[in-house]
């Protein structure tokens, strides 16, 4: 029964294969495999092939089927690869068309009116692995990448200095001394004070528990959170998850929406970090430079400078890279040992 079914399958497979691949298939099989001379005397050369090229007498149909099935799998794999390549090419073509269209419109706009307000049309949802739009991402106005970092440059007016970690003077002043704090809220998971008493013996839960942690499917980028803290946390969450493309988008949105927020400096750093992890060295260099220039006494300043150097190094800009590394050590003698170690190893590997 099973055997009969397999025979039928084999016939179907052969038909499928010969229909699908035509003469290439027919032409390949009869060729004896190299080394076949070492095999016992051959009686016939068959169409089926087992991977050994030829068969001794009394070949079992099952053995032939197995070999055929292997061939079909190989071909299936090739088809899958082709489909994938076609899909990728289509996507690239589409992006190319979009970009061309955009540039065409832009050049038309440049003739008379200013470009239709705001940044260019929102980037389509990132597709990660394939080509990123990289340089197509909205670029901060002007600010060409300074090849020699303007170390110690002035902070733009109106942007508060980010309080340096451990520098009590720069930290916001605490208000009134000891005040009575509010009532403790309940556990948000249940809305009730948590009672673990029913959780069972030996630390093993036996109680019927709620639904398992549900998460959305492939999450589209959620809308920008409604307040600076949430927006920052959300963007930072992407960094923590290693979703650097989303982190970049979210930090850019945060920086645009809340330009005066107290975590602006950190956000610049993490924007740079997200770009750095995606190997967008030019963009990351710009972000780290801005983070350092705008917040030279911020907690992230030494790391910004280090990362600026690393970005420049990747761009082949050895001298400014070395200048950045030197500046970390010169300007931040109290930087964390980890940062200093990394600077030194970077200096060595860059040959500063």
């Amino acid at each position: 029964m099973a055997m009969a079914l397999r025979r039928f399958t084999s016939v179907a497979l052969v038909l499928l294969v010969s229909a699908g691949t035509g003469s290439a298939w027919a032409g390949r099989l009869p060729a004896p495999a190299p080394g076949s001379a070492l095999l016992p005397p051959l009686v016939k050369v068959q169409w089926g092939g087992t991977g050994w090229g030829t068969q001794p007498q009394q070949e079992d149909p099952n053995v032939r089927i197995n070999a055929l099935e292997g061939r079909v799998r190989q071909l299936t794999g090739q088809i899958e690869q082709f489909q994938f390549q076609i899909r990728r090419l289509e996507e690239q073509l589409k992006r190319f068309q979009e970009d061309t269209e955009y540039r065409f419109q832009e050049s038309q706009n440049a003739g008379g009116q200013p470009p239709a307000g705001g940044p260019r049309k929102p980037a389509p949802p990132q597709r990660g692995g394939t080509q990123q739009r990289g340089d197509a991402a909205p670029v901060e106005p002007a600010a060409p990448l300074a090849l020699t970092p303007q170390l110690g440059g002035p902070r733009p007016a109106g942007v508060p200095a980010y309080p340096a970690q451990g520098n009590a003077g720069a930290a916001p002043q605490l208000g009134a001394p000891p005040q009575v704090l509010g009532q403790l809220p309940a556990d948000p998971r249940t809305g009730q004070p948590v009672d673990l008493a029913g959780a069972g013996r030996n630390g093993v839960s036996t109680a019927a528990l709620g639904a398992p942690a549900q998460a959305a499917g492939a999450q589209p980028l959620p809308p920008l959170a409604g307040n600076p803290r949430d927006a920052y946390d959300q963007a930072y969450g992407f960094v923590l998850r290693g979703e650097y493309d989303r982190a970049e988008t979210a930090f850019q949105a945060y920086l645009t929406t809340y330009p005066g927020d107290r975590q602006h400096g950190d956000a610049l750093y993490w924007l740079g970090e997200a770009q750095f992890q995606r190997q967008q060295w030019k963009a990351s260099a710009e972000s780290f430079l801005k983070s350092y220039n705008d917040y030279p006494s911020g907690a992230k300043a030494p790391e910004s400078l280090l990362r600026l150097g690393m970005s420049l190094k990747q761009l082949g800009q050895k001298e400014p890279a070395c200048a950045s590394f030197n500046e970390v050590l010169r300007k931040y003698p109290r930087a964390s040992p980890a940062v200093k170690q990394r600077v030194q190893s970077e200096q060595r590997s860059a040959g500063c």
Binding site: T50, W52, P56, Q58, E59, D60, N62, V63, N66, G70
Partner: protein, 162 residues
């Protein structure tokens, strides 16, 4: 009889296994030869030592190799001669694969051997198949000299005592 190096190695393992099973002692070449001499025709020892109870596979492959066919042809002859035996074909994989896939791979190897033996006239009712994946290696080291011994299908006689 011209046997390849691989097959020779296969035999040594088979012998070692036979030694371990029947003598419960550490197998060495002398003991193996002695065991071979002593094997009663038609005994499970005879099958393991003189016929060869296992075939080997190349990496990630499930086709029986030409050497494997020679072994299985001998197995088929022997099994036809001693029809009282039923047997289990155990499929195994080397350790260089993931656990679940190796169970599936071992099953396919066992099925390849089963199909070949059926084509050589052995009744399907006498055999069953099982896969151990990478769970039961015979040789342990971090290179292919061990892995190629572990990529195997073993024909294990069930009612060996009868």
């Amino acid at each position: 009889m011209s046997l390849s190096t691989t097959l020779n190695r296969g035999f040594r393992i088979a012998l070692a296994l036979a030694g371990a099973l029947t003598l419960a002692a550490c197998a060495n070449t002398n003991q193996d030869q002695a065991a071979a001499g002593r094997a009663t025709p038609g005994s499970s020892q005879d099958f393991v030592v003189n016929v060869g109870d296992r075939v080997f596979f190349t990496v990630d492959a499930t086709d029986v190799t030409p050497e494997g066919r020679t072994t299985l042809d001998r197995q088929a002859t022997w099994l036809r001669q001693y029809p009282r035996y039923t047997f289990t074909i155990e499929g195994h994989a080397d350790e260089r694969g993931t656990r679940e896939y190796n169970i599936a791979l071992g099953a396919r190897r066992a099925a390849s051997v089963r199909d070949y033996l059926i084509s050589r006239g052995i009744e399907a009712s006498r055999m069953r198949t099982i896969s151990y994946g990478k769970e039961r290696p015979v040789a342990v080291c971090n290179d292919d000299s061990c892995w190629n011994q572990n990529r195997r299908a073993v024909t294990a006689l069930n009612n060996a005592g009868s």
